[in-house]
Amino acid sequence: MSEQGRVITYSDAGVEALREEMRRDSSIVYIGQGIGPRGGNFRQTKGLWKEFGDHRLRDTGICELGATGVAIGAAMAGTRTIVDEVFLDFALEALTQIIQQAANISYMSNGKIKAPVLVRGAMGAVRNAGAHHSHTFYNWFANTPGLKVVLPATPYDLKGLFKSSLREPGPVIFIEHKSLYNTKGVVPEEEYIIPLGEARIVREGKDVTIVAMSRMVDLAVKAAAALESEGVSAEVIDPRTIVPLDRQRITDSIKKTGRLVVIDESPSSCSFAAELLAIAVEDCFHELDVVPKRICSMPVPNPFSPVLENLMIPSVERIVGEIHGMMKDVRRKS
């Protein structure tokens, strides 16, 4: 399916999803900074204000805490809301509302109150924005019961996951990557949705399983291509959603290849990469042939210097190098 269709950008795929869902569900209200007439700092709401107006696209001043609380409260009262933190970094201003109120409300109310709020934010390093504008945080949300966590890597996935996220009964943390907004991909004309919880096999392979999300998927694919020329067949898997997690598809692949590499843009301590290594040893203890590897950002704040930041973040070279080392390891079973 993702073969036919038009080639559009990651940001436009989001705009399409929003337009379709806001037409389908007239209760949807979108709250954020610069998401009205401006069309979004990342062009992520381009053109929507013209169609839906001030009542449904609500610009606010600089008050993420209040705006997020308002979006959650409105959702509790029956309005499906989207609150756009723009930079995921700014979600920190509102974390108390997201973690204490949105994530807990269904459980605390015994299912009587739901908060269908989508918290949108763009993560990760982009054009040396520096330490304050480059955080990832997805593993924090994945550590919080009550939140679903979605990280699309392509325009196709973004549109399909966005639409299903806007049909969830409760809160969804929808995390885009800043440096993907201008990337392009094929998106079908006809409507489609992608259910949360289904990993995508980006590329089939038999020697090593590479798990990556968001921008790291592109690096993983490039590394896999480089390895192919050396006769190493790498399978690339993108979980697409951390909560719910498609544990089955991921562990099936690990069992098949016996080797696991996880690419993670966040620092490694208590990261999603750590979670995947834990899952691998829990579910694939006897099938793992060599020590699985975490390839994460270095444990430092994002440096402004391009020279330093390029060292800090996982690179294709680093991935290829790590996998070279891994392939040299004598297979335990042999």
């Binding site: 805490l65 609380g69 409260g73 009262a77 309005t79 204490q100």
Partner: protein, 324 residues
């Protein structure tokens, strides 16, 4: 400000409010007793002394109007119409509780009665209530939302950001501050140099009024006016109710030396329940009629206790239900 009401007393209404306030009072006294006897788990913050605020405000509300409450919210729940047994069962952690025993005193929800929850986080309910107001405004049914909070929440960023959004968007929200002078042991005058909560409304271009929170009719009238404006899409109002809690911050809180016995006694002179009772007697209603009401409330609380006590504990299997 609101028009003084000492003179003109509406028997019927005042009698209703008297009864409601008495229910709130008797309820908390019972909770205190049960808690001290080790019957109730968790932590409870009692509303004793502040009954006129919840009753005076909620008397103006429809069932489908919403209120968002605080950590000191039993009185708000009862005033909004949640049955005493349902509230008490929740405090007891029983399945018959409004949250099936998973919430307790600080996480109690009863949307069937427009009660959108107590809250363990100071300040948090103010943006939430503002969001409820956004939903009410978009629904165009004249619904309103009340945000209750203590004066301790006024110095928090949540208050600041929410009141600004409520004003900018002309939301039908009534921000009711229960200024009982203290946040835990912290006197408001130690926490800020501007102890007039009503005056804070000006910072947002919002209407602000202060009212005697121990006079149920005064609270009622101030709320009635604010709610009338909100229903007519005239935007929010901040109402400061000057009130007082007779008990400790929470049951078991040792702290007492932060306020004098005299101060507590002074405030008890202005007790809202006694005051309403006296107004009723002065206005000619017979003692016996009030005695009958008092009797009804006694029966009511005993039934609430029976209801809660007889309810069972949640089933083990239910622990993983309703997470998403």
């Amino acid at each position: 400000m609101t028009t003084p009401v000492a003179q003109r007393v509406d028997h019927k209404l005042l009698l209703d409010y008297y009864k409601k306030m008495l229910e709130l009072r008797v309820f908390e006294v019972k909770v205190q007793e049960l808690y001290r006897n080790g019957r109730l788990p968790g932590f409870v913050h009692l509303y004793v002394g502040e009954e006129a605020v919840a009753v005076g405000v909620c008397a103006n509300l429809r069932n489908d109007d919403l209120i968002f409450s605080t950590h000191r919210g039993h009185g708000h729940a009862l005033a909004k119409g949640v049955p005493g047994g349902v509230v008490l069962a929740e405090l007891w952690g029983k399945v018959a509780g409004s949250s099936g025993g998973r919430g307790g005193s600080m996480h109690m929800y009863a949307p069937e009665w427009g009660f959108m929850g107590t809250n363990g986080i100071v300040g948090a309910p103010i943006p939430l209530a503002t969001g409820g107001g956004l939903t009410a405004k978009l629904a165009k049914k004249g619904g309103v939302v009340v945000s209750f909070f203590g004066e301790g929440a006024v110095n928090s960023g949540s208050f600041h950001e929410a009141l600004n959004l409520g004003t900018v968007w002309d939301l039908p929200v009534i921000y009711v501050c229960e200024n009982n002078l203290y946040a835990t042991e912290m006197a408001f005058s130690r926490a800020t140099k501007n102890t007039s909560v009503a005056s804070r409304a000006a910072a947002y271009g919002m209407k602000g009024v202060a009212v005697d929170g121990q006079d149920v009719m005064a609270v009622h009238d101030a709320a009635a006016e604010a709610i009338r404006i909100a229903r007519a899409d005239g935007g929010p109002t901040l109402i400061e109710c000057k009130t007082y809690r007779y008990v400790g911050h929470h049951e078991g809180d040792p702290g007492t030396d932060y306020r004098t016995r005299e101060e507590v006694q002074e405030w008890k002179q202005k007790d809202p329940v006694k005051r309403a009772r006296k107004q009723l007697l002065d206005s000619g209603i017979e003692e016996i009629k009030l005695a009958a009401v008092d009797e009804e409330v006694e029966v009511w609380i005993e039934e609430a206790v029976k209801f809660a006590e007889s309810s069972s504990e949640p089933l083990a299997e239910s622990v993983t239900e309703h997470v998403y």
